[in-house]
């Protein structure tokens, strides 16, 4: 097996052995149980003594699902930061990396292995948790969002973007520092999305440009908007769009998916960030 795969397997093994996966699974089950319970109560809601009409129920379920999935995406991204930020720096500080790097393995293979392992974790957790949540909500309410596959793609893309960034920082900075930087930038990108919506609403070119820059510099929120769009039934899009341009500032709404060019940009961004990580680690003295 190539050294990169060996390293990747160790990343997954460490997560499993350190009970990280167990903690994530248990907490996710709690969240899913709460959502299922919440969704099941919607049938009991009454408006002037009358049960809610179906479109209204559908809207409530879809909004609830978006909120829960936002939490999921947030947990996924921040968990990715927590695991990726010390992935390399931690092994350098402890000395674990010394014996590994003295084997016939290039620095690029080591970085690629770490990245592959982390991506595997993000995919495993993201796909499992999202599918269980979507299926559970569908069983209880009969509602399935319109683009579940796209949703998975966008959320995992968001996780991979932030983990690649944290891993790049990990080639130079201590886990604590890299983790804080990645988490703050993740928050700034999210704010950038909201600010961009405000700029669009008031036709302010400067604000819109700043927001576009944050979207390009760290494409997490841009992808999150795609995930939101994937979860919205058309009636929600129609209703929200009728409220005017200001809804673009709502971080839990997207009138349309990100353009294909943006998705291509995000993929290129990930590749470039990984290349930067390899370059940075190659020139690092250990």
């Amino acid at each position: 097996m190539t050294p990169a795969i060996v390293v990747a397997r160790q990343v997954v093994r460490e997560a499993a052995r350190r009970r990280l996966l167990l903690a994530l699974i248990l907490l996710t089950i709690v969240v899913i149980a709460l959502t299922v319970w919440g969704v099941s109560r919607i049938d009991d809601l009454r408006n002037a003594g009358q049960p809610l009409p179906d479109p209204q129920k559908k809207t409530i379920v879809s909004q609830l699902l978006i909120l829960v999935m936002f939490m999921f995406s947030w947990v996924l991204s921040l968990a990715a930061v927590f695991i990726a930020a010390p992935a390399i720096s931690g092994e350098l500080e402890s000395g674990i990396a010394l014996a590994l790097l003295a084997r016939p393995m290039s620095r690029a293979e080591y970085v690629a292995g770490k990245w592959l392992g982390l991506v595997a974790l993000v995919i495993a957790y993201g796909v499992t948790a999202a599918i269980i949540e979507l299926v559970a909500v569908q069983i209880v309410s009969g509602y399935l969002p319109p683009h579940p596959v796209e949703f998975l793609g966008f959320v995992i893309g968001e996780g991979v973007v932030i983990l690649t960034f944290a891993l790049m920082l990990s080639t130079r900075l201590a886990g604590m520092v890299g983790g804080v930087i990645a988490a703050i930038l993740f928050g700034i990108a999210w704010m950038g999305g909201i600010v961009g919506g405000v700029g669009a609403a008031f036709n302010n070119a400067t604000i819109t440009h700043v927001a576009t820059a944050t979207k390009l510099i760290l494409p997490t929120d841009g992808l999150w908007r795609g995930a939101v769009w994937s979860l919205e039934p058309s009636l929600v899009i129609a209703a929200q769009s009728g409220l005017g341009p200001a809804v673009a500032a709502n971080p839990f709404f997207a009138a349309e998916p990100p353009p294909a060019a943006y998705v291509v940009w995000a993929v290129m961004w990930i590749v470039a960030m990984l290349a930067l990580a390899v370059w940075s680690f190659r020139s690092r003295e250990v």
Partner: protein, 301 residues
């Protein structure tokens, strides 16, 4: 590896960290046996090993390890390395750590079990193979690290302070392991500041201080300057002057005189001179300078 190419070679290697010179024009060559790289803390010993392994880059200079340019992937195929800062994956068992290194060292999968059993036995961890490394004491982790370095009979083994965490029994075990390696023809590069350790197992030695080699050679050559302890009575002032021609005199508390820096071949002449001066000789005991004395003398210079 060709017989002519040294197992380890450093040619004019300099390493600077900003203004700090960690290695200053270091050259050395190790062909066979156990080579001790000695020096006080901060002398540049670990830097030299890291440069050999490509973990750190030399500012200037070149060299080779196991027949390939140092730092190259090819050079890392047949070596074993125990870092000074040794830590292994606490979430793995000892066997799993060794298996991981078997895989990275590209050892034939069919050989893993035998290789891991043999290694665990050699380093005295045969009964702890299935324990998690997280439960190991520092000494046991160092033994495991030594095991990692010994996998698949490497041609060259680099040990950076291999006994720092070990008790006297552990140190003895490591010395035995090093001797066994030498018998098998493995070249061992031993970084140490424990002089007695080096004195007991090394064939060749380089003493390094502040990045510079201040003495290098076969251990017995390096310690070749011997001294002689003489017990004699009735030694006149002229007699003392005669002895002083053979070396530096050092009076012991019990009346014995140590003549330092005398060549071994001149000891009979020394005895004749003492007898010729009318003194009575009770004992003549040739003494080797210990490595520690030599080391301190060199550092003092």
């Amino acid at each position: 590896m060709a017989a002519t190419s040294p197992a380890i070679q450093l040619e004019h290697v300099t390493k600077r960290y900003g203004n700090v010179v960690a290695l200053d024009d270091l050259s050395l060559s190790v062909q066979e046996g156990v080579f001790g790289f000695l020096g006080p803390n901060g002398a540049g010993k670990t830097t030299a090993v890291k440069i050999l392994l490509g973990l750190t880059r030399a500012t200037r200079g070149s060299g080779s390890l196991a027949g390939a340019p140092f730092g190259s992937k090819a050079s890392l195929g047949h070596i074993g390395y125990l870092p000074e800062l040794f830590r292994y994956q606490s979430w793995l068992t000892a066997r799993e750590v060794l298996a991981l290194h078997c895989e990275l060292a590209r050892i034939d999968h069919a050989k893993w079990t035998t290789e891991i059993d043999r290694t665990l036995g050699t380093v005295g961890l045969a009964d702890r193979g299935t324990s998690r490394v997280g439960t190991f004491s520092k000494g046991m982790q160092q033994r495991l690290g030594l095991g990692v370095a010994l996998l698949d009979d490497p041609a060259v083994v680099l040990l950076d302070e291999p006994t720092s965490a070990l008790d006297p029994v552990g140190r003895h075990d490591v010395r035995e392991i090093i001797r066994a390696l030498r018998q098998r023809g493995t070249v061992v590069f031993l970084n140490s500041h424990l002089l007695s350790e080096v004195e007991q197992v090394c064939d060749g030695v380089a003493i390094v201080d502040r990045g510079k080699v201040i003495a290098q050679g076969k251990l017995d050559e390096l310690l070749g300057t011997s001294s002689v302890l003489v017990r004699a009575s009735g030694l006149s002032r002229e007699g003392r002057a005669a002895i002083a021609r053979f070396g530096e005199l050092d009076d012991g508390a019990d009346g014995a005189i140590t003549v330092r820096g005398i060549d071994r071949e001149r000891i009979p002449d020394l005895v004749s001179a003492i007898v010729g001066a009318g003194a009575r000789v009770y004992a003549v005991e040739p003494q080797h300078e210990t490595l520690e004395e030599r080391f301190l003398r060199l550092l003092g210079q």
